[in-house]
C-alpha cells in the first residue's frame, strides 16, 4: 500500500511559501501549475537550495530552490544592504525551516524532520523514491522563478 499525497498536503507548503513572500516583501508570489518531475527531466535546482529530509510516517524530502537574483531582490525589498552568499542562503534556510515547522504541524507527531540544510546544486543528485514521482511547483515573483519540490510517500 502506497497512499499518495493528497492535494491539501501539497497546498500546506505552497501556502507557507506564498505567506513568506507576502510577509517579508509585501508582494505575493504567483503559483504556477504543479507537475510531476520525471526521471531524466531537466535539472531543477537553482543556486540556492534549502532541503529538509523527512522520516517516520513519510519518507522523502521537501526542497525550496531559488536563483540568486530572486533572493537578492528579496533582500533588497527587506531593506538589507548586505548581499553575501551567506545572506542569500539564510533566506532559503529560513523558508526551509518554516516548511519544516508547517510539515510537523500538518502531518503530526509521527513525522521525523531533519534540520534544514543548504545544498550545493553541483553535487545534488536526484534520488527517486520507489513508488511515486516528485511534485514540482514553480513560483513566480518579480519575473523570477523559484521551485518547491515535494517528494514524499508513506513509509
Amino acid at each position: 500500500m502506497h497512499p499518495q499525497l493528497r492535494p491539501q498536503d501539497i497546498e500546506v507548503f505552497t501556502e507557507t511559501i506564498c505567506h513568506y513572500f507576502l510577509a517579508s516583501t509585501g508582494e505575493a508570489a504567483v503559483i504556477r501549475s504543479a507537475y510531476l518531475l520525471e526521471q531524466g527531466g531537466p535539472i531543477l535546482w537553482n543556486e540556492f537550495n534549502g532541503l529538509i529530509e523527512v522520516s517516520g510516517d513519510y519518507l522523502g524530502s521537501i526542497c525550496f530552490s531559488a536563483p540568486r537574483a530572486l533572493l537578492s531582490h528579496v533582500l533588497l525589498k527587506s531593506g538589507e544592504s548586505v548581499f553575501t552568499d551567506e545572506r542569500h542562503g539564510d533566506i532559503v534556510g529560513e523558508i526551509a525551516n518554516t516548511l519544516a515547522g508547517r510539515a510537523r504541524r500538518h502531518f503530526g507527531e509521527g513525522l521525523g524532520i531533519s534540520t534544514p540544510q543548504l545544498l550545493d546544486y553541483s553535487i545534488t543528485t536526484f534520488q527517486p523514491l520507489a513508488h511515486s514521482l516528485p511534485y514540482a511547483i514553480p513560483f513566480l515573483w518579480h519575473g523570477y522563478e523559484a521551485n518547491l519540490v515535494i517528494h514524499l510517500e508513506t513509509a
Binding site: M1, H2, Q4, L5, R6, P7, I10, E11, T14, V30, I31, R32, S33, A34, Y35, L36, E38, D57, F107, G108, E109, G110, L111, H131, S132, L133, Y135, A136, I137, P138, L140
Partner: protein, 689 residues
Amino acid sequence: MTSLPRLSFGKYRDLVLLIAIFIFIDAGVSVINIYTSHQIEDDTSRINAAGEMRASAQQLTKALLTLDMEMRSGAITQTSQAEISGARLGFLDAQEKLQKKPEGLLKRGLLEPEALGQKVSEQLSQIANTWDPIDREVSPLLNSETLNLEMVSSAVSKAVTRNNRLTQQADDLGLMLEALAQYKTSTMRTIQTFAIILAFLNFLFIVFKFIARLTASDQAAAVAREENERIMKGVREGLFLLTRDRTVGSQRSASLDKLFGEQLKTGENFHQALSRICSLESAEAAENYIDILFNRKIKQVLLEQLNPLKEIELLSGTKQRKGSTFVSFEFDQIRENDEVVALLVSVFDISDEVRLERELMNAESRAKGEIDLLLGVLDHNPDTVAEFLLTARRNLQLINQELQDVQPVGQNYPQLVNRIARTLHGLKGEAGTLSCQSICQEIHDFEELLTPLRGRNKIQGDDLIPAAVALSKLLSEVAKIEVIVSRIQQHVSGRSGDQNSPDPLWETLHSIEKYALKVAEDLNKSVRFEAIAPRLSQIPSSIAGILREAVPQLIRNAIAHGIEPSDERLTIGKSGTGLIRIEIANEADGTLTMTIHDDGRGISASHLRTVLVARGFKTPEDVGEMSDDQVIAMLFEPGFSSLDKANLHAGRGDGLSVVKEALREFDGRLRITSRTNSHTRFIMQFKPA
C-alpha cells in the same frame, strides 16, 4: 407509595448524643442554681426568724418588768400590755416560721443532712419548753380586767429566770441554721463545680473526637482525591460525567482534551461541544440517544446496540495525528433511587482500529480489483492492452508536459483543463473496452475534480495542484497494469506457436460487446449487442483508430442517453432489452462505413433546446433561430451534456467531442439519423487512403 424519610443522623449520631449530654448537664447546673437560690432565701428567712425570736424574748422580759413597775406605782399599764402582746406575738410568729416543717425531701432540702435537721428540731423543742411556761404566765396579763400585781410578779419572775436561757437557745438556733446554710451552699458549689467540669470534659471530648474524625476524614478524602487525580491523569480513555441537563461535569480524565483536540469546558452543553468536533448528523443522533438514556424505564443493555457514536470521525483542524481521528463513545447510566441522575461517558481513540480495518478493506478491495483486472486483461489480446497502456502513458506524459510548460496568462489554464478533460475521456472509453476498470475509476475521479474548473474563466496555478496529484495516481495505476500485462505477454509469447491468430476485427468487436454489457449493467439497463462486419485479415488504420477512440464513446452515449430503462421500454411497447448494433461495411468505391445503431429514445431537438437554455449555453432567442441540425451539432461541443448529473459513463459532455476529434484525425465524415422513441444512428464514412 412513597414513605416518609426516616430521621437518621447517620455518621453524626455520636455528635448529636454528646451535644445532648452537654446540654443536659448545662440544664442540670441551671436547675441546681435556681434551687440553691431558693434554699439560700429560705435559710436566710429562718436565720432571721431565730434572730426575731431572740429579740422578742428580750423585748417581752423588758415589757414585763415595766408593767410590774407601773402596777406597783399605780401608773397606767396599757402601753406595757401592748408591748407585752407585740413581743409575744413576734415570738410566736418566729416560732411558727421555724416550726413549719418542710414536706418531703425537696421541701426539707435536697442536700440537708438529716442529723443537722434533727438538731434544729430538737433545739426548737427546747425553745418551746422554755417558752411555754412563760407564755402561760403572760397570756392572762393581756386581759386588763383580771390583771393584778401577783400575776405580773409571777410572770416577771418566770420571764427573768428563763430569759437568759431562751436568748441563748435562740442564739444557738441561729448558729445552727447558719451552719446548715453554709453546709448546703458548700455542697451546691461542689455539685456545680463537678457539673461544670463534667460539661467542660464533655465539650473537650466532642472537640477532640470530632477534630480527630474530621482530620481522618480529610486525610481519607485527600488520599481519595489524589488517587482519583492519578487515575484521571493516567487513564487513556476520555472520561467525564454528563449531567441530566446535558452539561459536562467538572471531573474528567486528562486525555479527554487531547482526544478531542480542544478543551471541553465544565458546564458546557454537550450537544454544542459535540457539534463543533464532529458532524452535525452525529451530534443530532447523539442528542436523541442521550435523551433515551436518561429515561429511567429503559435499561442500558437494551440501548447499547443502538449507540450511534460507536465510530465517529472528528473534524480536522485541531487533530494532532496524521490522517483522520476516530473516537468511540460509551455511555453508562448512573442510577440513584432508580432514577438516572447522570451518564458516565467514556471516549476511546479507535483511529488505529479504524485505520487498520480500512486498510484491510482496501487491501481486500485491491486484491479483488487486481484479480478482476487480471481476468479482464486475460479476456483481451495482451498486445492490444499493452498498446493502450503505452498510448495512455504517452498521453499522460503529454498532459504533464503541458502542465509544466503552460504560461499563466490569458485563457491558457481553462483551455488546458478542457484539453486534459478530452484526453482523459478518450482514454476512459478505451480503458473501458479493455476492461481496465481501475484506470476507468481513476480517470473518473480525475474528471470529477476537473468538472468545477470547467466553465471558469479564471483559473490559478494552485487550482491545478489536485490535477497533478490525480495525474500521479493515474500514472501509478497504468504502471501497475503494465507490469501485469508485461508478464502475460511473456507467457503468451512463449506459447504463440500453439495458437491460431484470431480475427483482429472480431476480437475488437468482442471487446466492445463486453464493454457495452458492462456499461449497461452499471447503469442498470438491459441491452443486446449485435455486430455485422466482414472478415478482415487486417483492420484498416482508420477503423482501428475509430474503434479504439470513438466507438466506446458512442456506445456509452447510446446506452446512457438512448436506451431507456426496461420498464419504460415496456410501457411504450418496446422489448425490455435494448439493441446496440455495429455495422461495418465495405462500399463498392472502397469507402468504409461504420454505423452505430441503438433503438432507444432518439435525439429530441426540442429537448436539447430546453437544455441549452437551461444550462446557459444559449439564449431562448438563439435557440429559436437555430435549425434542428445546428441544435444537434451542439452535442459535439466540449462540456455540453443533456444529462443533469455526471456518472461513471456519461454526463461530462466530452464523449462526442472526442468522437469529433477522432473523425478529424482519421479524416472521417459523420451523419446522424434519429427518430424519437425509435432509434439513433451514427454513420461514419472513411474514404480509401
